[in-house]
Symmetry: C2
Subunit: 75 residues, 2 copies
């Protein structure tokens, strides 16, 4: 997932990642930390804005966390 995030930030400048449950949230955050390392070589970094999101999963409403990820030039 880290590679996909880095590739999308390089090509599109932003990407959104959704996660439901502590294990998925933890994996997403780790992937974002790893993606920062991948972007370093391109002179890029990323910032994240977490938010809650209601998702319908198998006809049940679940609260997901969404990560709005933006590629930036490090300051």
């Amino acid at each position: 997932m880290a590679g996909a995030v880095a590739a999308l930030l390089r090509s599109q400048g932003r990407v959104e990642v959704h996660a439901i449950g502590p294990a998925a949230v933890n994996q997403a955050v780790k992937a974002l930390a790893i993606a920062r390392g991948y972007l370093l070589g391109d002179g890029l970094d990323l910032t994240v804005q977490p938010a809650f999101l209601k998702l319908d999963v198998a006809d049940e409403e679940r609260t997901a966390l969404t990560f709005r990820v933006e590629g930036i030039r490090p300051g």
Copy 2:
């Protein structure tokens, strides 16, 4: 924790949050999402940069996730 993050961002502009383990990481991300809501009323928002961090806990090295949180004016 969300209230503390919001208060520190208002007064200092930045704060760092460490979390070890999926449950703590999940809680930290939720707190950051909630803190964004608290900051809205002040015309502020936040961005996060996740990174890995080696911590010594009870003489054992543990890998933590650290969230570098910065207060911003929403664009």
